[in-house]
Amino acid sequence: MSIVDNVLSQQFQALVLKELLEVWRDRRALMIALGFTLLFPAIMIGSGALSFKVVSETNLNIAIVGSDYAPLLENQLHGTGFRIDLLREGIPRELLEDKYDAVLQIGKEFETDYRNLLSPKVYLYVDGSSKSGGRGIQLIQERLGTLQKTIMQQRLSARGIAPQVLTPWQLQIRDVSTPSSRGLAILGIMVPVLLIMALMVCSAAPSIDTSAGERERMSIETLLQQPLNGWQIIVAKVLAVTSIGWFGSLLSLAVLTLSFTLLPLAEIGVQFSAGIAELVAMSFLLLPLALLVAVLQILLALRSQSFKDAQIQLSILQGLPVALLMIVNLSDIKLDSPAWQLTPLIGQQQWLSLLMAGEAIPVPLALAGSLVTLSLVGLCILVGARALSRESLLGAT
């Protein structure tokens, strides 16, 4: 019988249906898929939006010790973003421990030194380990810097000097990035990793159940007694697991896309440019990877000693691809060479990044890379089938 006849055979179709029913009827697997795909993006986007809101709307508590010596400085700090208390005296460290995010200390001699052009010192105390410490330094420097610039100009003017004399040149910045390419740095890394994680997480429970689970329930022996080839059994299981893994990643993609409309991306100069065409392309590019993840997870679970062992092994190993992607992204490795694009996982991550930023992908390389992934899937199926036929994958139950 040819492969086509095998695929079209009623036994095989019944097997696929049985595997699909088992996978999709497994409430635990569905809960994991829905939980991860819905909650994880929601938490990420929610925390992102919240932190942005916190940064933009929270007032910093500032104490000025000795403000009587230079009220103009205090005037300058008033405005949005600061809540200011004026203190005659106080120990900065204790004030920081109490309720203040920053303490500005002005000395008694400030006024005299200022008038005598002696450049008196002002001390800014912050707790660098607190979230608001760094922001306090930046905002206070910005506001006092504006006043300082005004005073500098006045001092120059008083001496008959044009401000340009102290500006030997003007640096004009030309930023060649686009709003979507700026988005690549944020969305291009985060989203592909999240989608690949969704594949791994959503496939794990059904992979274990359909392999180690069946073995523990001893139903796999019944399956092996059916007039079916080993590869047909593996393919049926892979298709079933892929269906839920792929569904999970597509759901993640949909939830993320919707969530981006809630994020104030435009306020940080970033644009979410992926349209329907890009999202459809991303969906199809994920399919070969979903097949590969499913077949690898099934093979690994079949090789494990028990159901629990399979759970432990897959839990440990499913973090590896994500860690690998993060390392590759954070390192200086140039990933745009064809060799990297043909490498499963890395190739997909690259294309998803580009599509997420609304940019074009190298279609021939994407097709070739997908074929490489599919070839690996085929190879794994053959390995699984041979092992099944020798019962070597049945392990010690």
């Binding site: 008033h78 003017s157 340009q164």
Partner: protein, 487 residues
Amino acid sequence: MVWMRRLYFGCLVMGFFIAHGAMAAEGNGGADDCYLDGWQYSLQCSRITVGKGDTQVKLAVMVSPALDESGEEPLYLLAGGPGQAASDLAILLNKFRKINQTRAIVLVDRRGAGLSRPFSCGIDRNTPNELEVISKSLADCYLQQTTFANSLSSRQTIEDLELVRKHFGHEKISLWGGSWGTRTALLYQQWYPDSLTALVLDAVAPIDTKVFLGASAAEHALQTLVRDCQSDLACSRFGDWRGELEQLLINWDDSAAKKFPDPVTGRISEQPMSLWALQSMIRAALYSPEASAQLPFAITEAGSGNYLPLAGIAGFFSDTTTGMSLGLTFSVACSEELHRISEEEVAADIAGAFIGRAFLEFFSRGCDVWPVPKRPYSKPEPRHHPVLLISGEADPITPPIYAQKDLDYLSNKQHLIVMGGGHINSIRGCIPDLIDKFLTSPEVKLDQACVKDIHRPPFMIGAYGPELDRRGGSDSKGMEQGGSGSD
């Protein structure tokens, strides 16, 4: 001496000067990426050919696309002058980022300005600041390019804007106009009301207002400065510095003019500071709150023979690169403004004003050698578009009173007045946010409370700068700086 040659750019026309300002676009032809000084990101630039023969111009159009494609109507920025280029306004994009999130911002260099065949007549920052020299250059220029000079007008600019709007397929647009750009916007509203959604007008020059009668406006700005100085404990110690200014101008002679220092070289100027240039420089300082905060001290010092602080204020304009095209300036000013000013009106305007005829002199002498045809405006017809008016209380060329008394025909307007504000206030304090809110919901009345938080910078009190140990004035809290000044 270059500083003095450049003085008229900042003080003799109705434009406005902002930091950086200079333009230098790259790219040509279709919608290419290009850059303008003052804005670090690329814009989409294209050329649209308008006019024929001698008057043909490839209009430079620069677009900063919206980040969110939410379909909001674009905002077109109209520059002042007449003669300033929209490409000079790129620095405004830094403050208009929020506006730019949902709507494209479009800059069109009108014919004769900026990158659209600039009509500068060879008069630039290096031309000596002498009326005779400028007048001679203008006369030669008019004879050489009469057809082009006669062709330039507000009507033509508005037809070009309408062409650009259609070219980009913008169904409706909103306009931001600054200074003379407000006149262009108001005329566009008259002629193409159906193309408009809303108007934001900063430093308003109503159609019926004779804005070149600027002496009393300049005096009003100076009097506002006097008032604010008197209410400041430290500044009030200067006493009657307005009176000292009067004496300084009356007694200004060749000997004083020759002693005026050059703020760039630090030496005595080779070119004496004429009375006309001195008056113009003081008037120019009133455009910017930063420069005007130094006037009481500088004038007091000048009264006792120390001209260095005044020279320092003049230095504010030494690197002003607004790219004002004086050919365009005179074509529009002479055909649309100067002809409708009578000698009686001039006499009433200059009475008691420190600037005297100095401001008008520049234009009347220029128009003598620039005989373009008169182009009177029709009486404005009622319009109901939402309009946001923005005025600086101490604006020396377009004071708030203009917007208050000459825009009765606008039924749906709101007016923001920045206390102590100079010329152009759109980038100060919370004004960019208010503009964004207005454009998003033009029918909603704005909460103007935050405008009160915009204050003058601290007055210069001594060689050390402002006083630190006294609060500036009765209500001075949280000074906001970096406004329309040429810092």
